[in-house]
């Protein structure tokens, strides 16, 4: 159970739809149950995007913006119609899925784009929602080994180029596993260009040690791209169109020379090595969440030695973790693997840092329910390992346990109204502007000051033809200090093109509205340069309430993502 803090995802989770650093209206803690007359409902219809025919038995899901909990669901009837009743007022994302079609979010222009949230005010009954589902594409084929024989248990992923923090990377969108005939079938794909990658290891279990008696150098299957290359640059894309079934996309697995990484793990926390420490090798440059450990090995002996076999050249992070009685120790160390064995790696397990902290309010204290707040740390360095977080107690104190040494951005979640984080200090050092650096050890308590006097910006975004731009990404960027990411705010316009950003720290800003904006795009300094003149200046003072009218910057004008044919 204590591992729940750092949940590893066996399948990478794509950051689709909602911008994680967004501003979503937070529900007040301990709300009274909504009065029956204030409950809302949504009615609509699901149609086939190509033929216009109504679709029955489509599953409808409505989830509240910013709240991953309870979902509302139903299914369409014989006429393709649906009704979701008894909704509390708020913003919702509506999605539909049906066998034979690519799943879609209302208002989204593709599966890696934000949908349009539906705003419901007290007692609102929205009736005209139309969702169009595109007939899906299917990619099916076989995975063969170098002798042309089928290979079982291969994970085949359909990948597309996505932009994270301004960097383009191939990220998986769908996946399938081959059966005993070596066959896989990936369905529910929306039209587009995909690259296929096949990942397989001969060994069933990473913890087993290869003791093959042979004089030959080590070899193993390496991640292979369709039709049969290890190099992503040589990968051939396949085009999926609506309703198409692509068969025969066979992938031939490639073997490559592999090397060994040997070393020793020592316990920095005391005598003796903990049991069953597992050393994992993970790709260092993976920017999306989710974990694909390339290799792993158990430390079996008391002297802490380990040997990783079957390692292919690349840049990795060596990670080892251990938990005992609720306390964790970990170590992470970059390692670059070439074509030679690596010996003598030395890993020192050090206890995770325990960070105690206090949130206090600057200004009138009324109205803050501290125990509905949560403090989370977003790692800036090595991404795939999850975000340490802690709930805040009634007195405003919190304790972050077992925090690995890394650099982090601190976020306080659950702030309501116009509260914003004014300052974060760790001992004497600022931790808001420069982030929290635990790589050189951390000491002192975290002090977070929040204040209720943030400003608010409301507005509407329109398209060129003055029609409302629903589902547009609104970005509030600080005038100066574009490196201080905590000052940026993002949100998505609702079906009326409306948006509302609360809790803005006083200062000068520019507002932009994009038809589509990649996750973390603003962290790339080049991103805003071509659009500076289209931004709307807005000055925020304490408790000010500004309004803005924006014109959406169309997708074609946005840089970088044209090449992948999305």
């Amino acid at each position: 159970m204590s591992l729940a803090r750092f949940a590893f995802l066996a399948v990478p989770v794509l950051l689709t739809a909602q911008q994680p650093v967004g501003v979503a209206p937070q529900p007040p803690a301990n709300p009274q149950p909504t009065k029956p007359e204030d409950l809302c409902s949504v009615e609509g219809q699901v149609l086939n995007a190509l033929t216009g025919e109504p679709l029955k038995k489509a599953r409808i899901t409505m989830s509240k913006d910013g709240d991953s909990g309870t979902e509302h669901g139903t299914a369409t009837d014989a006429g393709g119609r649906f009704m979701v009743p008894d909704l509390d007022p708020g913003r919702y994302y509506l999605s539909a899925n049906r066998n034979g079609f690519a799943p879609a979010q209302y208002g989204a222009r593709g599966s890696n784009r934000a949908g349009t949230p539906i705003s419901l005010t007290a007692g609102q009954h929205t009736r005209d929602i139309v969702l169009r589902l595109t007939p899906h594409g299917v990619i099916a084929g076989r995975v063969l080994d170098e002798d042309g024989e089928p290979v079982e248990r291969v994970q085949v992923s359909t990948m597309r180029y996505q932009s994270f923090r301004g960097k383009r990377q191939l990220a998986p969108q769908g996946w399938g596993v081959t059966d005993d005939l070596g066959e896989y079938r990936i369905f529910g794909l929306e039209p587009g260009k995909y690259y296929l990658s096949a990942r397989y290891q001969q060994r069933n279990f990473m913890a087993a040690e290869d003791r093959t008696a042979s004089g030959k150098p080590d070899e193993d299957y390496v991640p292979t791209y369709y039709p049969g290359t290890n190099d992503p640059a040589g990968a051939v894309s396949v085009a999926v169109t609506a309703g198409s079934v692509l068969g025969g996309t066979d992938i031939t697995l490639r073997k490559a020379r592999t090397v060994r990484v040997r070393g020793r793990v020592a316990n920095g926390a005391g005598e003796g090595l903990p049991n069953n420490v597992m050393v994992q090798l993970m790709p260092r440059e993976q920017l999306y969440f989710g974990l694909f450990a390339h290799q792993a090995a158990r430390v079996r002996k008391q002297d802490g030695t380990f040997e990783l076999r079957g390692v292919t050249p690349g840049s990795y992070m060596l990670v080892a973790q251990w938990w005992e009685e609720g306390k964790g120790s970990s170590v992470r160390q970059p390692v670059d693997v070439g074509s030679n064995n690596i010996d003598n790696v030395s890993l020192l397990l050090t206890p995770g840092v325990e960070l105690k902290g206090q949130i206090h309010v600057e200004g009138p204290p009324g109205g803050v329910q501290f125990d509905s707040l949560n403090v989370s740390l977003e790692p800036q360095g090595f991404l795939p390992m999850g975000q340490p977080n802690a709930s805040v107690k009634q007195d405003g104190s919190f304790t972050l346990e077992n925090v690995p040494a890394d650099t982090y951005r601190i976020t306080v979640n659950g702030l309501t109204e116009n509260f914003y984080v004014k300052a974060i200090r760790m001992g004497d050092a600022d931790a808001l502007d420069t982030g929290l650096d635990l790589t050189r050890g951390g000491s002192g308590a975290l002090e977070i000051a929040i204040t209720p006097n943030g400003g608010q910006v409301d507005g509407a975004v329109q398209k060129e033809d003055s029609k409302p731009a629903g589902g547009a990404s609104v970005l509030l960027a600080p005038d100066s200090n574009r490196q201080q990411f905590s000052l940026f705010k993002t949100t998505t316009t609702d079906q009326y093109g409306h948006f509302s950003i609360k809790g803005v720290a006083p200062g000068g800003y520019k507002l932009f509205a994009f038809e589509q904006m990649d996750w973390g795009a603003y962290q790339d300094p080049e991103f805003l340069k071509p659009h500076e003149d289209k931004g709307e200046a807005v000055a925020i003072r304490e408790s000010s309430h500004e309004t803005a009218q924006l014109k959406v910057i169309p997708a074609e004008a946005a840089p970088a993502t044209k090449k992948d044919g999305n």
Partner: protein, 550 residues
């Protein structure tokens, strides 16, 4: 003792009967052999080979791959007892739980410096079952999990349990279950997500777990007798719809404030091994909701920790025909039980592999129970003990030790159900002893030849037959030998089966037919017995009952 001396020529010298606590730098062993098909006798290239050490906690695990000629060679192996197995696409996957002499697994003993040659591993061609899953309109249903179930023994009872993982259907509704060994199976299909849709006259409906060919009652399921290499096609299901109910509630702390972002589960209350489970996630207001729930007695379970303290929530809920929408599930601090492991006889090299825990009967599958690692001084703390009844579960001690006693205060805790429904108190005192008895010997067939891979089972005498921890089962090695250590003093019977299903011997109905064939052994502290057992051949094995309910 008769006949044992015939084998001494085969037994290599330097058989070290006494296992030292920490093996010194022993001479490495090696194994060579070939993998062949039982159907054709031909070698099987590229089979994956696994060598797993048994008889000690944290045993070694080695692997290699057979060559194009089906040959394999493992080197640098630590001496010890092992199970060797091979797998290959197109051949039956090993089924864990079919204990005893599954011919696919070979038990081996490796002495220091021993180099074993000419080991032959035989793989049986796989059986495959295919079909489609459709809804009430005949339309294909994707993302439906099709599970293969078998009757297996668990805790002395015959239960219908998954034999291999559920394959999800594709967009054509097709499923394919492969790698099956011969046996009698049942198929069950259920959707992978809990979704419901409104029912015309009010309420909800959802898809229920459906047993092939089309019933929600396991007693009505069709038994599929699958022979090696069989292909069963066209086993189609129509997934059944059933009226269902939603269960909604809030997770709160003691005092009423909500707890957010926690996993919550709904499990049938009185079935330890139920296949059904619902899952939800409490939102910002602590609200959770289960969908597609059928009437029955359930428990809502959740766990939470703050400041290193653990809390659990366990709420019984009875579901009838109506939605439940106002459940309040309150966390309470679990109780804590401190304890101590003491050792009689040879001191333990380390306590680090020993784990002590309490297993709740009702919440078996949720992991409901408190476990604690044992510290260097033998002490341990079990935290977050929710109000419930538990059985003691301690494991990880070396094979030549046995649990002599366990007490909570002055109450017997080893074989009794511990009642902590009113909270836990006292200390748990566990006594491990290295003075158990030992039985070693050989199994011979009718022709007086040693039998490899025979299942040797030690069954406690009548008054203690219900104490499942006293049963021991091992496989004979390549010389037909077996060695059972750490036996609690008392009277036993030894049986040697060519093939027996793991746990079957805990069922009195099963054992009745073989009672006369067992060999009595009285074990005292420190006794070393030997036995020469007569194999009970596979033909004598009672056929598995068709379906206990009929």
């Amino acid at each position: 003792m008769r006949g044992i001396h015939i084998l001494t020529a085969l037994i290599p010298a330097a058989m070290n009967a006494q296992q030292p606590a920490q093996p010194p730098k022993a001479e490495a062993c090696s194994i060579e052999g070939q993998v062949v098909s039982t159907a054709t006798g031909e070698p099987l290239p590229k089979a994956s080979i696994q060598l797993m050490q048994i008889g000690k906690p944290r045993g070694e695990w080695y692997t290699t791959t057979a060559t194009a000629g089906g040959r394999f060679a493992l080197q640098d192996i630590e001496p010890g007892k092992y199970r060797l197995q091979a797998t290959k696409t197109g051949y039956a996957q090993l089924q864990f739980g079919v204990g005893g002499a599954s011919r696919q697994v070979t038990s081996l003993s490796l002495d220091p410096g021993q180099h074993l040659r000419d080991v032959v591993l035989r793989l049986v061609p796989q059986a495959v079952i295919t079909g489609r899953v459709v809804d009430e309109d005949g339309e294909p249903m994707p993302h439906v999990s099709v599970e293969v179930l078998r009757y297996r023994y668990m805790a002395g009872k015959r239960q219908l349990l998954p034999s291999s993982g559920g394959m999800g259907t594709n967009d054509l509704g097709e499923y394919r279950v492969f790698g099956l060994a011969a046996g009698r199976y049942y198929l069950a299909a259920r959707p992978q997500t809990d979704m419901d849709t409104p029912y015309q006259s009010g309420g909800w409906q959802s898809y229920a777990r459906t047993y092939y060919p089309g019933t929600s009652d396991p007693a009505g399921a069709t038994a599929l007798d699958v022979s090696p290499g069989a292909r069963l096609r066209g086993l189609d299901f129509t997934l059944m719809k059933t009226r269902s109910v939603r269960v909604r509630g809030r997770l709160v702390r003691a005092g009423g404030r909500p707890i957010q972002n926690q996993e919550v589960r709904l499990l049938p209350r009185d079935e330890s091994f139920s296949l059904s489970e619902w899952w939800s996630f409490a939102d910002q207001q602590g609200v959770f909701q289960f969908r597609g729930v059928t009437p029955g007695a359930y428990s809502v379970l959740a766990e939470w920790s703050e400041d290193g303290k653990w809390y659990s929530a366990r709420q019984p809920v009875d579901v009838r025909e109506n939605d439940i929408s106002n459940l309040v599930v309150e966390f309470s601090p679990g109780a804590e039980l401190k304890g101590q492991v003491r050792v009689e006889g040879r001191p333990l090299a380390s306590f680090s592999d020993i784990h002590v825990g309490l297993q709740s009967d009702a919440a078996f599958r949720f992991g409901g129970g408190a476990f604690g690692a044992v510290k260097r001084d033998g002490s341990f703390t079990l935290s977050n003990i929710g109000p419930d009844r538990y059985r003691l579960n301690a494991f990880g001690s070396p094979e030549d030790y046995y649990i002599k006693s366990a007490l909570v205060g002055d109450k017997e805790a080893l074989d009794s159900l511990l009642d902590f429904t009113q909270g836990a108190s006292g200390t748990l005192d566990i006594l491990l002893s290295s003075n158990g008895g030992q039985v070693e010997g050989v199994v011979l067939n009718a022709a007086e030849q040693p039998v490899t891979g025979a299942a040797v089972v030690l069954v406690p005498d009548e008054p203690r037959r219900a104490q499942t921890r006293l049963y021991k089962d091992v496989s004979t090695d390549q010389y037909g030998r077996f060695n059972i250590k750490g036996i609690a003093p008392g009277g036993y019977k030894l049986f040697a089966w060519e093939e027996v299903e793991s746990g079957a011997y805990q069922d009195p109905d099963f054992l009745k037919a073989f009672e006369a064939l067992g060999e009595r052994k009285a074990i005292r502290e420190g006794s070393r017995e030997s036995a020469q057992l007569k194999l009970i051949p596979a033909e004598n094995k009672k056929p598995a009952p068709a379906n206990p309910a009929r």
